[in-house]
Assembly symmetry: C2
Homo-oligomer: 193 residues x 2
DNA sequence: GCTAACTACCTATCGACATAGTTAGTTGCG
DNA sequence: CGCAACTAACTATGTCGATAGGTAGTTAGC
C-alpha cells in the first residue's frame, strides 16, 4: 500500500524513470521507506495499468531509450487522498525486542554484543539524520533544493518544516533505542557477577 | 526468520498446540511479534519437517484430537544458536514517517487528525505496557508465572528482568512517538495561521 | 437439548519483499 | 580505443504476511 504512494510522492514533483526512482530510494525516501529496484519496476507497470501514471519512451544517447513516468490526474488524486486518510497501524514485528524478551537464553557475552550492535546501528542512523537535518537547515541539501525548485513560494516553508520534523522524529527514535540498549548493557552486568 | 524462533521461544518452555500458540500470539509474544493462525499452522508443519519440532496427536474430548508440539534437541539448538547470533537490521519501512515527510500535501485538519491518531495509538500501547510492567513487578502476570514455573530458581530473576527490560523499551518507543507527534501538532498550528 | 461461544485446524489467494541474477546501452578516462 | 563504471530495465524464485474464508468437535448456560 505504501510503495505506490512513496513513488507518487516523488513523481508529483517531477517526472522520472524507474532508475531515477530507484536511486532516490537509496537516499531520500529510502530513509523512511526502502524498496529495491526489483519492486519498483513492476510497481510502476501496475500503477500505469491502474491509470495512476503514464509513461513515455524518451531517447537516451544515440540508440537507447528510457521510460519516463509522470503522474496523471487520477494519480495526483489518489496521492492526496492517501495523504488525507488516516493510517491503519500494523501490529508490531520487532525482532530486536523479540530477542530482548528471551535474552536469558543467550550467552551473556553474546547478549552484550547484540546490544552493542543495536547501539552501533542506531548511532549510525542518528549520525546520518543529524547530517541531513544540518543540510536542510543550511540549505545545502540537493534533495530538498530540487524539490523546492518545483514548489510555490508559499509552500516552501511547509515543505522544509515537515522534512525537518520527519528527521527529528527519526532522531528521537534512534536516541530512544540507544538509551534502551545502554540500560540493557548495565542490566546484563548486574545479572552476571 | 523470526516466526519459527518466536514459536520456539514459547515451545522450549512447554509443549503446546497450534491453537495455544495462536492465543499466545494474541497476548504475550504478539506484543513484539504478531502472527495470525494462518501463518502459525503451516510454520509448525514446516518446522516439524525440518526436525525442529515433533508433534503428537492427543485426545481432546470424547472424539476429538489435537496436535501438540514439543521441541527436539535440534530445535533447542537452533533456538539458542539464533539467540546467540547478531541480528541483521532490515532497512526502514515506516508509513507514519513516510507520510510525515510529505505532510504539506495533506489538509491541515487531516494532518492534525493523523497526528492525534498517532498519539492515541501509542498512548494505548503505552497504557498496555505500563499494566504489563506492573503485573510483572507485582508477580500477578499469569503469562510470566507460567513461564517461571518451568524455570530454574537461578534463572528466574533473569527471566523477569529481561521481560521488564523489553517492556520498558516498548514504553520508551511509545513515549518518543507521542512526544514527536505533539511537536507536530504545534508545528501545524504555527504553519497555518 | 439447543445454541452460542470457544477450541482446533486448515486452505486459498494476492501482493510484499528479499535475493540473485540477466541484458544492453552510455559515458568518462587514461 | 578499450575498459570500467554507470545508467536502464527486467526476470525468477521463494518466503512472508494480510485477509478471508471453511470445517468440525467441545463446553457451558439457559
Amino acid at each position: 500500500m505504501s510503495l505506490p504512494n512513496a513513488l507518487l510522492a516523488l513523481l508529483v514533483v517531477e517526472p522520472m524513470t524507474g532508475y531515477d526512482l530507484h536511486k532516490k530510494f537509496e537516499s531520500s525516501v529510502g530513509h523512511v521507506w526502502h524498496a529495491p529496484d526489483s519492486q519498483i519496476y513492476p510497481a510502476l507497470k501496475r500503477m500505469e495499468a491502474n491509470g495512476l501514471l503514464e509513461g513515455e519512451d524518451i531517447p537516451w544517447g544515440p540508440r537507447g531509450t528510457k521510460r519516463q513516468y509522470h503522474v496523471t490526474a487520477a494519480g495526483r488524486e489518489a496521492f492526496t487522498s492517501w495523504m488525507n486518510t488516516p493510517l491503519e497501524y500494523a501490529r508490531t514485528r520487532d525482532p530486536a525486542h523479540l530477542k530482548a524478551a528471551y535474552l536469558e537464553w543467550a550467552e551473556p557475552e553474546a547478549a552484550r554484543e547484540q546490544l552493542r550492535a543495536h547501539i552501533d546501528h542506531h548511532a549510525g542512523l542518528l549520525e546520518q539524520w543529524r547530517e541531513t537535518v544540518k543540510e536542510i537547515e543550511d540549505g545545502t541539501s540537493t534533495m530538498l533544493n530540487r524539490r523546492l525548485a518545483h514548489t510555490s513560494a508559499a509552500d516552501q516553508e511547509k515543505t522544509r518544516a515537515y522534512k525537518l520534523f520527519t528527521y527529528e522524529g527519526l532522531m528521537s527514535q534512534a536516541e530512544a533505542e540507544i538509551a534502551w540498549a545502554k540500560r540493557g548493557l548495565t542490566l546484563i552486568d548486574r545479572l552476571n557477577d
